[in-house]
Assembly symmetry: C2
Homo-oligomer: 545 residues x 2
């Protein structure tokens, strides 16, 4: 299986795998499309049943749009995500590690379908052209103050080294040829670095906003790869072949030749403008902040373009699925390899509602020295400032992605007074509360950003001593029962949840085992007879008990 | 709808509602029956899809049994539980409150089906009689050292007042006419009180072990109603009519006339005997402990008796479902009424794996003074020693039974250094670790029981200040989208999970609302024009940011 070279090939692959829902009814991009796909994430639909949605007839209160809109098409599930890089879900992590180690530089081509239609300069101001032509949806109708691009890959270059950056940042639609650009509140976002370079030189920053490149471009763009690494080369590594680029028409940048839509222009450095409010990945509407403005000099697109949107905001979402896979792989590598902690077995960023970053679980191999468990917890805090408000260590029988299992470990294997540490000196993180009146956010931003007035909780929920076995039937009886359930009784298919059989946690002896085996042969009276010989008579002491 | 008067009427009702699976294949009571039903709780089956299982052909390694075995028949789900008291799930709590306030005393009748077959004295020692005749299953094959009664209602009387107690305690099968009885490690279990009265008088304690009475008898027996209240009167209150009782044949006690099986006998007070290991509701195999022994003087049963077992141990289970409903109702009443805290809106005992007691969530109405939130948390600790190792307060937009929603509150609305308190001076509770070698549990029991060396964590995860709205589409758009999803697109039925639409949490102003409405009418450029007038030019200060 190969990675698709454009979004159209990807759509074909999705359909062949039964992962696409085509919607032919006229669908309002502002009031209907995101709410419909959102139900996949708030309607009790299991991840393996989630689909990509292709809306073939897109309208809004004002007009009908050419082309179509794909939502959920990049990461409605691990299956959808994997298909975008030409692999099965279980191959994703390995393929990612390989791509990071073996990036493939993009190649230049003369022309590509992204240039099938070209609109330059004043033409963009005409009714029906400019952003009138592009079906940008409203993600959170009732709250968002505009349509926003959510799958917008911003391409810019370091003014000193010329090394490209591709980053995914939201963009508020503000005019026919003007959007906001929100490179995130953190000063270290890579687009910010380029923007400050331009500001220092008294220039504006050339930028291209790409929609609907090959899926691997999005996969790479949403990850925080180290500064100075070209995400298009990582995307090439994921695809196993170079990404083909064409030169832009009005700026000195290159963009994927098979992209659906490209906006060319400059990000102004001479002023900031209010941008937002918009729903954010922390799950709440982020107040308005001051942000740069993007002025469009040219729009190029394929005929009948496919607008690609990411369902973001409240997690789980397409956005969190996009981030989860790479973040977990990078954190695991940091804890195991860079921190040389052989006891770390797996990590889990908690996805439902919590936005991955704030609840991090580290799974340690049984027998880990307690000080190495604690070092692993500290490692999470050391890795990234944004990661971990609650950090929990569990044993290797606990699935770090399963909230019930983690709660089980916390309640049974963690004694708060001994096994919990609350640590001060952290950032607030990308989350409420926002201590601002109305739209005065920008005045607060810097002070709040730099404060270390926040705390994290570390919980060591690993076993400190042997426990008796988990009270479920032994594996062989559960497996046999599953066979009877599915084959003889014809009941609905099971989805086993760990723990689904009993297993020892160290406190179990040979006599217990013998008695358990004897019982299954109908020998329980023998055990009864044996126990009768171990009676203790009731002394006054016992009577008072 | 009336409460069924016996388990057979209940089985008919279950079948009419589509809540019964009949299994005709020969099923081994020790290796197959509990594992099959266990899959309902570890196999990803939603509560509303869980059924009662009636095994009509029960065997084991040694013999075939007359009659049948019902597992999951009392509380596989709220629907099954409600049917046992003749009501819908949403009526359960109210009906329980009414029964507690209006118990109905049982009445005596001359005879009943429980006496269709009677076996007395030495007859019970014959091969095929005594407990050979009763199909007691092994709950945790591979670990349990014998079959154990799990739905065993023990009837005893206070030797001073004559007031009856009905309690549900496990019973290890030890011989043809001998079982263990495990009235729990806690000295205040009500059977223990009677047993110590008998011990003090140098007598044995008469007891009847009842299997398969009317469902309401089990519903009442598993709840900790105050000492001195006859659970059979509460059961009458639940049924809306008195429970009919017959006199026992060999002891001075009365038992439900329509029960399936009754064992009459004495609980010895002159010695204790090792009993266990057996899987317990804390989810682990509880080590062997010293416990009293029950000697059977008579077995009576209906023809072709239905053996009723409860699926217990690892939660969620039938056992936890039986306890959950009443415990939550009693805790809520305690916090709201007995503690006069009008701010408490709901409580949730966390069921998956955690066994209800160790993770307690209190939902407070928005606007509750913070000190009343804390008083509610302290109330949980004050209510019962066994309740609460982690106690969390949440706002009324958080479903206290939803682990994801509670984690969301903890990560977003709780600052560990300020909003968490760890309190010492608690019991360990019914859970590992057990600091014993092999089977020496009894030597530890008393000291461990009385120690206050354990701690609890209280977390105030309510809002302390206004938050921006939850970043989901407003309710009307999600409702419309659900209609499109289900009626136009014909996609699988949705099960909405809160939050499924956006709502304000106090930080939202009129301008934001106006812009959001304008955007839906296609007016986002107007907002863009307005924002352009609020630009700030980039001073050197901003440049350095």
């Amino acid at each position: 299986m190969k990675a698709p070279r454009d979004i159209r090939e990807h759509i074909t692959n999705l359909e062949q795998r039964g992962l696409l829902v085509r919607v032919k009814r006229p669908s309002n991009k502002d009031t209907e499309i995101h709410p419909i796909v959102r139900w996949q994430f708030r309607g009790g639909v299991r991840e393996e049943d989630r689909k990509a949605f292709l809306f073939e007839n897109v309208i809004d209160a004002v007009r009908e749009y050419k082309g179509s809109m794909l939502v959920g098409g990049l990461a409605a599930s691990r299956w959808v995500y994997g298909l975008g890089m030409g692999c099965e879900p279980e191959e994703i992590v390995q393929k990612w590690q390989h791509a990071l180690a073996h990036p493939i530089e993009p190649i230049m081509v003369e022309t590509g379908p992204v240039h099938e239609e070209i609109h330059i300069g004043d033409e963009l101001d005409q009714e029906g052209l400019g952003l009138d032509e592009i079906a940008v949806p409203i993600s959170t109708p009732g709250f968002d103050n505009a349509p926003y691009f959510t799958c917008a890959q911003w391409i810019t270059k370091d003014l000193e080294t010329g090394i490209r950056n591709v980053g995914n940042y939201r963009a508020q639609v503000k005019g026919r040829r003007r959007t906001g650009v929100c490179p995130g509140p953190q000063a270290n976002q890579q687009l910010n670095i380029h923007w400050r370079q331009a500001l220092a030189r008294g220039k504006h920053l050339e930028a291209a906003l790409v929609v609907g490149g090959p899926p691997v471009v999005t996969h790479a763009a949403v990850q925080k790869v180290p500064y100075g690494v070209d995400e298009l080369a990582v995307a090439g590594g994921l695809a196993g072949e170079p990404i083909a680029l064409v030169k832009c028409k009005t700026i000195n940048l290159e963009v994927p030749a098979t992209a659906e839509i490209v906006l060319e222009g400059i990000i102004r450095t001479d002023f900031l403008e209010p941008e937002g409010a918009f729903g954010e990945s922390h799950g709440y509407i982020h107040p308005r902040i001051m942000n740069p403005v993007f002025e469009i000099s040219c729009i190029t697109h394929r005929k009948q373009p496919v607008f690609v949107g990411i369902l973001s905001q409240v997690t789980p979402s397409e956005s969190s699925k996009l981030k989860e896979i790479g973040m977990e792989a990078m954190l695991l590598r940091y804890l195991k390899e860079h921190s040389s902690n052989e006891w770390v077995a797996a990590v889990g960023l908690y996805e439902p509602l919590v936005n991955l970053r704030r609840y991090v679980v580290v799974q340690c191999r049984r027998g880990a020295p307690q000080y190495e468990v604690w070092r692993a917890l500290h490692g999470v805090l050391a890795f990234r400032q944004e990661l971990g408000k609650y950090v929990v260590a569990v044993d290797d029988d606990i699935d770090p992605k399963d909230g019930d299992a983690v709660n089980w470990a916390i309640t049974m294997r963690c004694e708060p007074a001994k096994d919990v540490q609350i640590i001060a000196g952290r950032e607030k993180g990308h989350a409420p509360p926002f201590r601002v009146a109305g739209h005065e956010m920008d005045k607060m931003e810097e002070a709040e950003e730099r404060s270390a007035d926040y705390s994290v909780m570390m919980m060591n929920a690993t076993l400190k001593e042997p426990f008796p076995p988990v009270a479920l039937p032994a594996q062989e009886y559960m497996e046999k029962a599953k066979e009877i359930w599915e084959k003889e009784l014809g009941l609905p298919q099971l989805r086993p949840q760990r723990p689904w059989y009993g297993y020892s946690l160290g406190q179990w002896d040979a006599e217990s085992q013998e008695e358990a085996e004897l019982a299954l042969k109908g020998g329980c009276y023998k055990t009864g007879d044996k126990l009768a010989k171990r009676r203790i008579s009731m002394s006054p002491k016992h009577g008072k008990k």
